[in-house]
Assembly symmetry: C2
Homo-oligomer: 143 residues x 2
């Protein structure tokens, strides 16, 4: 249950728990799905409506040539479209297609399924703890 840990021990506990669950969630990915970066970039475009190569590479913490390749794959698969920027001719605005929007919804549903099944085995108190923790963890990640 809830021991009082030092912040040092807590760091280790949180890091290990997050890394392990992250790996486990990734293992639930189906073979025909997009890669992590492809999924994440497409999710960004769906969330924001659009984005340039530069914005995407910054957000995903990869270099522009890598993101360029990622967008090439998504474009060939029909999930995004490149459009010219009206104000700045150097920029390329990438927008999700209808197919892209549908894929994001479907992927989310599938990845949540594994976790959802396990969360139902927890007590209401444990679920409440996780709900609070999720909000704390997101703030930490974005800080």
């Amino acid at each position: 249950m809830a021991q009082r840990l030092s912040t040092h021990d807590l760091s280790t506990a949180v890091r290990i728990a997050v890394a392990r669950l992250s790996r486990r969630l990734r293992a639930e990915k189906a073979d025909d799905e997009l890669s992590d970066t492809q999924t994440s970039a497409l999710a960004f475009l769906v969330r924001e409506g659009s984005g340039t190569i530069g914005q995407l590479s910054d957000h995903e913490r990869v270099k522009p040539p890598s993101m360029n390749r990622t967008i090439n794959c998504l474009e060939e698969a029909g999930y995004v479209r490149r459009t010219p920027d009206a104000d700045d001719g150097r920029k390329v605005v990438v927008v999700p297609t209808e197919q892209g929007l549908a894929l994001v919804a479907e992927t989310r549903r599938r990845r949540d399924a594994w976790l959802h099944k396990r969360l139902r085995t927890l007590t209401p108190e444990q679920r409440a703890t996780l709900a609070e923790a999720a909000s704390i963890l997101r703030e930490l990640a974005d800080s």
Copy 2:
């Protein structure tokens, strides 16, 4: 604070929080550090004392040839040693060296530093919530 979420919304909240913090923690890795799998395999060997190629590839969810290469790198760098198995001549027992033990301790300290700094800004109640959540998340990951 603690809203009551449906288990479906909770799945999404936990998945996003875990994925985002995981990416953030990985970004804190120094350039001269070992790769994720190298670090994880070495940590396993330090924790368990030793392990075969098969045990390691199972635990890290990679195929034996991949783990073999990982161990080659760690061996060349002087962090592990291959030793013969006394009972089964087909098996190879991998053990960490003194240098390997020291590296795991140092790597943990460094990766925890970023998280540790942020955890100190939380209230004691928030830290208690994370401590409970970490234990719940680990059980989920191992289930």
